[in-house]
């Protein structure tokens, strides 16, 4: 049930299980030392991994390095992937988020850290080459739906969630930034996530 919900939210509608089965086969090839399996995973998820890293870091060069790190990690840890904890796509994206945030925090400690840019700047870039146009379109549509659901949240809920997920701020830091009590921040983050989930599940055909 949870797996299904997860697939419904994160996977491809109507072909999520098929897509996940393909990914698992690719990952098995990777675990056996077959670089072709890694190529298949990159062709399918490289763009999503890169886009997430770019959204968090705001820099193409950093996003490229994070993407390389993520697939290097997938190459080393293919045997440790646990299907019960989510799809291969979700596994790759969690790694991407973690690595990008690590970089962001390290940059924040050092003085040369740059100001986070608005992601609107990168919207204009077009997909140049993609092997799977149909699933790309579905991914884009789903991404839009999630974005709309996020935009529909009350401001405090949305900002708290975005600061936590894309900026890697702790609850305390968010409370300071938004000048809200810590307890309020915790409650708003939770409410926002639950509403987001409801919106996503309802939007399923």
């Amino acid at each position: 049930m949870v797996i299904w919900l997860f697939a419904a939210v994160v996977g491809f509608p109507g072909r999520s299980s098929e897509s996940q089965a393909d990914d698992q086969r690719s990952l098995q090839r990777v675990a056996g030392g077959d670089a072709g399996g890694l190529g298949a995973l990159y062709d399918k998820h490289g763009r999503a991994v890169y886009s997430l890293a770019l959204r968090i870091l705001g820099d193409e060069g950093d996003a490229e390095e994070v993407t390389q790190d993520v697939f290097a990690q997938a190459w080393r840890r293919a045997g440790q992937y646990d299907e019960s904890r989510g799809t291969v796509a979700a596994w790759l994206l969690v790694m991407a988020r973690t690595r990008a945030i690590d970089r962001l925090l390290a940059r924040r400690v050092r003085p040369e850290g740059r100001v986070h840019e608005d992601d609107g700047l990168t919207l204009q870039q077009l997909p140049a080459t993609n092997p799977d146009v149909a699933s790309e379109m579905m991914a884009a549509e789903r991404g839009q739906r999630v974005r709309r659901a996020l935009e529909d949240l009350p401001l405090l809920q949305r900002v708290a969630i975005e600061l936590a997920y894309f900026e890697g701020l702790s609850q305390r830091e968010i409370a300071e930034r938004l000048e809200q009590p810590l307890g309020t921040v915790k409650t708003r983050m939770r409410l926002g996530l639950l509403k987001l989930r409801d919106a996503l599940v309802e939007a399923q055909p």
Binding site: A31, S51, F71, G79, A90, V94, G143, A164, S170, R190
Partner: protein, 202 residues
């Protein structure tokens, strides 16, 4: 545990978003290991957190990135190798003949087991019948014994007054015995003696 739960359950959302501070995360994970409620909660909240990763504007990386990604794992095979022993269990990947062979082995095992169980059942049935026969014969012996006792009581019934007079203990007998005799009595005991004893003062 309950006090910890009341305090830590409010961290589930931040945990799902991956934004707890290291110490907070460690404390939450300790609690998570023993709390089914928070575990279920985190699973739900992670659905949304995962969806956030997809909500960002999708941007294609430069085509050169693919070569870099694959180059780093193929260029120096010794430097970067996948972890050994891919523990991915996928029964769909088993060849058909192996699946059929496995089914046959299991089936044969089940058949042999069923045969053994059937043999044991008939053995137990035989033992039960034997025991029932023994009980029946014991019942018959008990009934016979009851009949003997009943007939003895009947003989007591013909213990007539003259007989009692005849065994008047006033004549200083040295011993007494009871015999079974034809009804009406006989001048001297002829049957087997049953109760043998010597009189003693009360």
């Amino acid at each position: 545990v309950n006090a910890a739960h009341d305090e830590l359950k409010h961290d589930a959302a931040a945990y799902a978003l991956g934004s707890l501070e290291p110490a907070e995360r460690a404390a939450f994970e300790v609690h998570l290991a023993t709390c089914a409620e928070c575990t279920a909660d985190v699973k739900q909240l992670r659905l949304s957190a995962g969806a956030l990763a997809r909500a960002v504007p999708q941007v294609s990386p430069p085509p050169s990135l693919r070569a870099k990604v694959l180059g780093q794992v193929t260029a120096s095979p010794g430097a970067l190798t996948p972890a050994p022993a891919a523990v991915v269990r996928d029964t769909r990947g088993l060849p058909a003949w192996l699946q059929i062979a496995a089914l046959l082995v299991v089936g044969a095992g089940m058949f042999a087991y069923a045969q053994r169980m059937q043999a044991r059942v008939s053995n137990l049935e035989a033992q039960l019948a034997q025991a029932q026969a023994q009980v029946a014969s014991s019942d018959r012996l008990i009934a016979d014994a009851r009949n003997v006792a009943f007939r003895a009581q009947a003989a007591m019934g013909v213990f007539a007054a003259p007989d009692v007079a005849r065994i008047d203990l006033a004549g200083q007998p040295v011993a007494v015995a009871v015999t079974l005799e034809p009804a009406g009595g006989v001048p001297a005991p002829t049957g087997e003696r049953y109760l043998i004893g010597t009189p003693s003062p009360l």
